[in-house]
Symmetry: C2
Subunit: 123 residues, 2 copies
């Protein structure tokens, strides 16, 4: 049974709180995660909230990566949704874990679009 | 135990295949879903793939909505990630189910960022 996509739901706790509130840093690390995963970036959106919190989304040829940060909790929720066999979302997961300086983390992998004999492609 | 966010992972099967391949329609229905959920749209990205497939993301003040379509399978994977108590992601789920003319669907709700006593806010 093949899935059209795989989706990592990542949670990072005990992160660098100042970094989580700097949109330029969040953008840089998210884009680096895309590169390390071997994905193809198409569009980026980064939004800084007042007084704190950053949202970043990169639409990739293979689906999307997203991050939402709660600096006041040292917490970031990350989604790494990919399709195709050429990308490695765990490379992105590892990069963000390190870059955000997370003390602890969790990651759940969910297979999206389960079809008998389906062939993953873009997107 | 309070969660900072809630995340609906929705899968729609047996959708209108032509509609799934029309980026203008996907944009319209995703934006309508944002409105019906009571969320605040901040940025939109819609990307059409060749020969088929559309990705749409709306960054909202309460996190993000995303859709990836596989017209050739009549399938769409949707993420409705919200925070705060003022939005109703199930209104978005229901709207998209109807708008995409899904024959069947599944939805899983995941609580993101579980903290004792955390108060959800934007984002």
């Amino acid at each position: 049974m093949q899935a059209l996509g795989r989706h990592l739901l990542c949670e990072y706790h005990g992160c660098d709180r100042e970094l989580l509130n700097r949109p330029a840093d969040i953008r840089r690390e998210l884009v680096a995660a895309v590169t390390l995963a071997g994905a193809t970036p198409l569009h980026e959106v980064v939004h800084a909230f007042s007084p704190h919190g950053v949202t970043g989304v990169v639409v990739i040829a293979e689906s999307h990566f997203a991050i939402h940060t709660w600096p006041e909790h040292g917490f970031a929720a990350v989604d790494l949704f990919t399709c195709g066999a050429t990308v490695d979302p765990y490379a992105a997961f590892e990069h963000l874990r390190s870059a955000l300086r997370a003390e602890t983390h969790s990651v759940v992998e969910i297979r999206r679009g389960l079809f008998p004999g389906a062939v993953p492609h873009k997107p």
